[in-house]
Symmetry: C2
Subunit: 329 residues, 2 copies
Amino acid sequence: VSARTLAQVGELGFLRRLLPRLPRGRDILIPAGDDCALVRMGSRRLLLTTDALVANVHFRPGWMRPDQLGRKAYLVNASDVAAMGGRPRFALVSAGVPPGYPSRDLDRLHRGLMAAARETGALLVGGNLVRAEVLFVSLTLAADSPPRPLQRGGARPGDLLFVTGRLGEAALGLRLLLRDPRAGGAAVRRFREPIPRLKAGALLATERIASAAIDVSDGLLQDLRHLCRASNVGARVELASLPCPARVRRAGADGYTLALTGGEDYELLYAVPPRHLDRLRRLRPSMGCPTTRIGEVMPKTHGVRVVDARGASVALPAGGFDHFAGWRR
Amino acid sequence: VSARTLAQVGELGFLRRLLPRLPRGRDILIPAGDDCALVRMGSRRLLLTTDALVANVHFRPGWMRPDQLGRKAYLVNASDVAAMGGRPRFALVSAGVPPGYPSRDLDRLHRGLMAAARETGALLVGGNLVRAEVLFVSLTLAADSPPRPLQRGGARPGDLLFVTGRLGEAALGLRLLLRDPRAGGAAVRRFREPIPRLKAGALLATERIASAAIDVSDGLLQDLRHLCRASNVGARVELASLPCPARVRRAGADGYTLALTGGEDYELLYAVPPRHLDRLRRLRPSMGCPTTRIGEVMPKTHGVRVVDARGASVALPAGGFDHFAGWRR
């Protein structure tokens, strides 16, 4: 592995080697590798997460207004908090900005970020501003944890798999923007502005509905594999049940590529034990978003498979999003 | 102000406009604008701070080994915690890395970061890795707060001004590296590896010795001006008393430029009311570093002045470090 570059090893390849070497300690209740870390400070339990948006990797100039960029930098972090069932409290932003960037735009970026934080009950409490050749916005979020936060591990064979909202729409938006930076419409709006499922996540955790959860940021298949690996299980996903708008199906080569591997959905994928289905049904109207059954948790030996309407296994598109592989077109 | 660039407005100019607009709330005990924010989560008080190192701004390739870069990314944040008297607990790293960066070097960077965290009692609990055209390492630190954290505001006329350690050495190191990337020696070591004054900061806070404090990261004069503005006071600094090694004095055009405006010292500048001097004298041996009296807090009308051995005002070198102005040579 010695002299290989990040492009060769990949983001996941590198993290898989790094994570087991991260420190353990009695004050780390859930270590790095889940959507957030859960730590103990005195009697208090705290969720911590960080994520960054980088120009020419996550967006190109002209795709988003500065306020939209600030909003998105916040919302993608809030989605990680939603996946554990937490409540965002305090945000810190670390921005790298080219010297020629208009001061007015940086102002708008911060306003967008602060507005998005406020809408989810959080406050921007600090930040840092440095010169950088390429614009980046890195955000860290501290959040309240529910008594039993959702984790990637915990799904058991027989649990049913659900996903909130719709899949593939943001990926379609990205595709449209790559073709025409002035593109508009629902898909582009969704790419620009993720919707963190905070209410759904909080209910799934506090009402003890879900046995495991993850936010779908790198494509359903890849994040499902993360959940399965952490839970030591397999999964069967029914293609026909994926909540995927017709315009997204029409855009994918085989109808479901964007829903399976698109990335940036920021929906919640979660597993529900059959005995909790009644509770889910009862609380569904309070989740603030649609939620759809898409499959079932299987024993590990089954692997992760996607089946069509006749139950036949579907050949899976390769991987999901890896920052070091760049944009799929 | 409308269409000006960051380079024209400057880091401080921008932050001065932004800070008053940051949200307030009863859970924000000390808002952004100090070295850390102090927030309340339940019964717990928490210090939060973030800072980033960016290639070609804070360092050039070849100046530091990857493990040294990871260490420094951690230590500059720990210095902000030291300035409030806090104890670092949990770190999150957000790294942007070019695709061609060796995986082995990123590994070393994380090892250096984790080692530095461990040495100060903190744990790396999470992170994020993205592709970026230019290497950056952004770090966020959550820390325990002392009952009465040190702040920039609080100095009163008549208080005495002290600084820990030595000034200007890191700036000399930077100058040597700009001339020759293979330069070595104590000054270069100091540039590569700041020493956060955690023990000193904790003592100054818990023993209620200091009335105000700040970490000297952008040059003594600039950070003194921050402290004076927050405390609504002026200050007189005695040039001859600055703890400035002979090799640093020889390097500066007028002997003290590097000590006054050099930047990256990561020492603590603090004010001590005369009635606390006995306590300071008693606890000095426990601070883990030298500490030197450099002047006195004055009424606001006096302004911030530096005087020579005969008491005459010295013409001050312009400003301190501003990321958007670039390196001074």
